[in-house]
Every structure is written in structure tokens, then in C-alpha cells.
Amino acid sequence: MSSLALDARSLLDEVTQFIYREARFQDDHAYDEWEALWTDDGVYWIPANGEGGDPEKEMSIIYDNRSRIALRIRQFHTGKRYSQTPQSRLRRVVSNVEILKNEGEELLVTSNAMVFESSAARGDTIWASRNEYTLRREGDALRMARKKVVLVNNETALYSMAFLI
């Protein structure tokens, strides 16, 4: 392998490991560890209808700036976030990790995910999505500057999904 190909390979490994780690934090409801993955200007977006159009104009399931991400985490920590008390039991599989764009400091990355949710009150639900990340290198670490979760069935009526996805 050329050194260029090795570099690309190790970058993909680093990105993939980052995404696996994020998935594990989400599955384990490790709220603070998950929050620490964000940059200070992070945006967490889950559109409601297909790709979502302009989130500044149209309703999204989640369109959180960094302070709203923090609010979401603080709400979990009250212990009275009843949509997650008891917590959903979760395991997800993440795959098809690709780096679509490499602009040095920032990477545009896509992956697919399937999440199995078991809720005490509602039973089992399977969620599937294409996840799109803007990852930024800050010091030694990658962080999420943007995460967009495009649920495959987001044009239909959805059950509550107050867990981290």
C-alpha cells in the first residue's frame, strides 16, 4: 500500500471508531460522555419530512443548537424525563461508514444505522437512518460539529424517540 492509501485507511479507521464510540454512548445512555463529543457550535438535526428542506423554516423532530443539546442532557439528568424513565433498552448497528469530503480540519461523513429499541410501555420498535456528520479535528480528537439523522420513515407518524439517536 502507498503511504497515501495508508493515511486514508487510518483516517477511515479513526472516523469509524469515533462513530462506534458515539453509538455505544447512545446505547448506554452515557449522556455526559455523548455531550462531550460535540464542538461548542454543534448542531443536532433530525428532519421530519425526507431530507428536511430548510430547518430554519420548517418543523424538524430535533433542531438543537449547542445550548439546546445541553438542555436536553440536563433534562435527562433530572430523573423525571418520563419518556426515558425507565430508559429504553437500545442496541444499534452502525455501518457503511464513508468519508464523503475531507477538507483538512473538517470531514463530511455518512453512515447507516439500525436501532432496536425496547420500551417498557410500548414494546419494541426498529429505527433506521442515514446519519450525516460534520466532524472537526480539535487538538488530538475528532468532535461532532453537526449531526443529521435522516430516519427512513420520517414521512410517517412516529412514536416518541426521546432517547439519543
Partner: protein, 431 residues
């Protein structure tokens, strides 16, 4: 072929079962658990409520241009809301009169006509049959009887479009009663006197009977508990509106319409825009527009009182800044279609209305995900057999009439629930 084949009435499932004695299930301050779980009762409700009374369908601003259409519903039935070339709003059943195919599969768009893909029948957007292929096979057929089904009555108030499957009955304004005034008050919050529905919908499904949602919308007792988590971390002023010493009141307008009237509390606070959790200086453009439109004094009044919190039976919930449209799918499944209300001509506040709505509602909302958890847990709990009844007696001893003769009580009291059930019983008992 008979041209009238499509109008043969289908007997409702419930009509074949034993007659339900509604007064045995709905008492003044108790209701029976089976009302939320019995599939036969749900079928009866479709016939007696959803397919009879005025049901909110959509807002005229969702179809602003000639030939716009949007997919809506009345109960579990999909309904196409169209604006035809003359500007008229039509409510059409989404079913081909030929073989029953669903004619339109897209959520919204602009179309002068709809063509059924099965055999190519084409309908104008007012429902009339325009034509069918190979017409020689239909010699003698009366084409005027082969259009899309039309919702029997369509009426709107301030752009809010309602439909009723009943050919006859009270007018929309008679049905709305005082709720029409609440819609008017809402519209006053726009400097142009109109609200718009332009931000698209979240569709949030819950595994629960629709009536749990209707009752919860004006249940002023639950916020202190169900929403404690967000009140605690968001420094929201909402929590105290639902304290036991709040001066806000719950009200039963009759006809199933109920509200939490928060104005006494807002008037006491006397802060323009306080109802929206902000102050006038944060929204200078909006405040200036309001003052120009209504004059300083009236604008101040409107900006103190804010928007209503009213549940218009059976399916339109105006929650200050959000519009919820409730849609039952089955005895234990309900969808809440929810969007941010937009004040026509007020872009600076509209952006904040959208942002705040997105945070609060929908499947991951700070408020609504927790309401949904309660709906689903209640649906589970009510299947336990003992006690058989739900107790709705809170505040009965302190219920009183307001100056207009409507029943009111403390904001945390169950006056709204009792009003909803009184109306429910009268509808279910009607012939």
C-alpha cells in the same frame, strides 16, 4: 352497471352489536375504563362523533394558491383538501368511485386534476369526474354521480377549515360557540389579524386512545408533575401557571370545548409578551407592528393576554403557540399532527414560534414526549380490572359559573374533563 352502486350505505360495525347504555359508563365524576379500550365503542364513536360532528381538517393557508392540495384526515379517513381554480376549498374522499383505489398518494402539491392510476379515471380538483378511458364502455352512465366523494359540509372560520360528514346539523359557528371567540383572539396576535400554517407538521404517534389526549390537553393538574423535568432546567415561567395557587382558571364552554384560561395570571404579571416567556424589548419589530395595527393600548392588552389554550372538540388543540390536530387510527392508536402557529406578517416572532415549538413538541419534544409516555402508560394501566372506573372528581365542590354562564374552576381542576364527557355522552346517546 348501476350508477348508484357507490352510495349504498354500509352498516357500521357497532350497529350490529348490543346497544350500549352510555349513562352506565359515563357518570358525573367517574367514567368506565372500557371507554378507552373497547373496539366496539371506538367504532360507535366513529359513527356518532368523527363522521358526524364538525371536525377540524386544515388551514386555508396550507393551500394558498389555486389548484394547491394537501392530504388531511377526518378520523382515520384520509381527506384531500384542495383549492380549486375558483379559489373554493374542497374536502374530498381519497377513493376512486370505480374500484376503490386510493387516488392521491402524495402529501401535498399543485394539481388541476387527479388521475387514478388503476384505470385512468380523471377527476377535477373539486371532485367532479372529468373522464375515463374507452368511454364507449360506459354508455348511458351518469357521470355526475361518478365523482370523488365530497365531505357533506365544509365551512371555515378565520381560515380554519372544518368538515362534517353529516348532510344536516348545526352550523359551524353554532358548533364552535365561544370557541370561535378564542380563534378570533388568537388571530389578534398577528398584526394583520390572521394566523398561518406554513411550517409543516410533525406527526407523533402514540399507542393510546384518542380521548386520553383530548382530556390531557386541558388537564391543568398534570404539568407540575409530568413536565417537572423541563420546568426545572429551563427556567420556564409555565410551571407556576399550573400551581395549586394559580389564578388561572379551567373552563368548560359546552359542546366539548374546554380551556385553561391563563389570562388572570398574565394580567397579574402585567408584562407584555410575558405569556411567551419574553419581554417586549426582545421583539421590537413585532411590538411596533402590533402598536401600529391596534393602537398602543389595545396592542398592550393583546400582548399581555397572549394566545388561548383551548381544546376544540374533538380534534383541534390550540396550545398558545402550537396547533395540534388529533387523529384516531384505532381504539389504541392516535396521531398528533403538530405545527407552530405563525402570525401573518410578523417574521421576527415567527422564527421564535418555530424554534420554541420544535423544542417542545413531537416525538423528541421536551414536553410532548413525556405527555406521550403518560398516554401510553395510561392505556396500559386502564386495562387492569380493578378499579374499573376513572375518577374525575377534582374540584367539583368549587366549580362555579363565570359571568357568561360557563362552568369554571381552579386551573388544576377536572372541570374540562367533566365537560368533555358530558358532551361525549350526549353525542353517543343521540339517535
Amino acid at each position: 352497471m348501476s350508477n348508484c352502486a357507490h352510495v349504498i350505505p354500509i352498516a357500521p360495525a357497532a350497529a350490529t352489536g348490543p346497544a350500549v347504555r352510555w349513562d352506565e359508563l359515563v357518570h358525573d365524576d367517574h367514567v368506565h375504563g372500557s371507554l378507552y379500550t373497547d373496539p366496539a365503542i371506538y367504532q360507535a364513536e366513529l359513527q356518532k362523533i368523527w363522521y358526524r360532528t364538525w371536525v377540524y381538517v386544515g388551514h386555508e393557508s396550507e393551500v394558498p394558491n389555486a389548484n394547491d392540495y394537501v392530504m388531511k384526515s377526518i378520523g382515520p379517513e384520509p381527506i384531500l383538501m384542495t383549492r380549486d381554480k375558483s379559489g373554493q376549498i374542497n374536502l374530498l374522499h381519497n377513493r376512486c368511485p370505480h374500484r376503490g383505489n386510493r387516488v392521491c398518494m402524495s402529501e401535498k402539491g399543485n394539481a388541476r386534476s387527479f388521475t387514478c392510476p388503476y384505470h385512468g379515471w380523471t377527476f377535477a380538483n373539486d371532485g367532479a369526474l372529468r373522464g375515463y378511458p374507452f368511454p364507449s364502455g360506459y354508455e348511458g352512465a351518469d357521470r355526475s354521480k361518478l365523482g370523488l366523494g365530497k365531505v357533506a359540509r365544509v365551512a371555515s372560520h378565520r381560515g380554519f377549515v372544518f368538515g362534517s360528514f353529516a348532510q344536516e346539523g348545526e352550523s359551524l359557528l353554532e358548533h364552535l360557540g365561544a370557541a370561535a371567540g378564542a380563534i378570533d383572539a388568537l388571530c389578534m396576535n398577528s398584526p394583520e389579524g390572521e394566523v398561518e400554517v406554513t411550517a409543516g407538521y410533525l406527526k407523533h404517534k402514540v399507542k393510546a386512545n384518542w380521548k386520553f389526549l383530548v382530556e390531557n390537553e386541558t388537564d391543568g393538574y398534570h404539568p407540575s408533575f409530568v413536565h417537572a423535568s423541563i420546568f426545572e432546567v429551563a427556567q420556564s415561567g409555565i410551571g407556576t401557571l399550573y400551581d395549586s395557587d394559580s389564578t388561572a382558571v379551567s373552563r368548560d364552554f359546552g359542546k366539548g370545548h374546554t380551556e385553561n384560561d391563563l389570562r388572570p395570571e398574565f394580567r397579574k404579571r402585567d408584562v407584555p409578551m410575558g405569556w411567551f416567556g419574553t419581554t417586549a424589548d426582545k421583539l421590537p419589530a413585532y411590538v411596533a407592528q402590533m402598536e401600529a395595527a391596534y393602537g398602543k393600548d389595545k396592542a398592550r392588552e393583546i400582548m399581555i393576554d397572549g394566545t388561548p389554550h383551548i381544546m376544540i372538540f374533538p380534534n383541534l388543540f390550540i396550545a398558545e403557540i402550537q396547533l395540534f390536530v388529533l387523529q384516531p387510527l384505532s381504539v389504541d392508536h392516535t396521531v398528533q399532527h403538530v405545527t407552530a402557529i405563525q402570525f401573518k406578517g410578523a417574521p421576527d416572532i415567527n422564527r421564535r414560534l418555530r424554534q420554541q415549538t420544535m423544542g417542545s413538541v413531537g416525538p423528541a419534544g421536551f414536553l410532548l414526549a413525556d405527555d406521550a409516555a403518560m398516554y401510553e402508560r395510561t392505556q396500559l394501566g386502564v386495562q387492569a380490572s380493578n378499579p374499573e372506573w376513572l375518577y374525575l372528581g377534582r374540584g367539583r365542590h368549587r366549580e362555579r359559573l363565570d359571568e357568561n354562564g360557563y362552568r369554571i374552576s381552579d386551573n388544576t381542576d377536572e372541570t374540562p374533563s367533566r365537560g368533555i364527557w358530558r358532551h361525549y355522552k350526549s353525542m353517543m346517546e343521540a339517535a
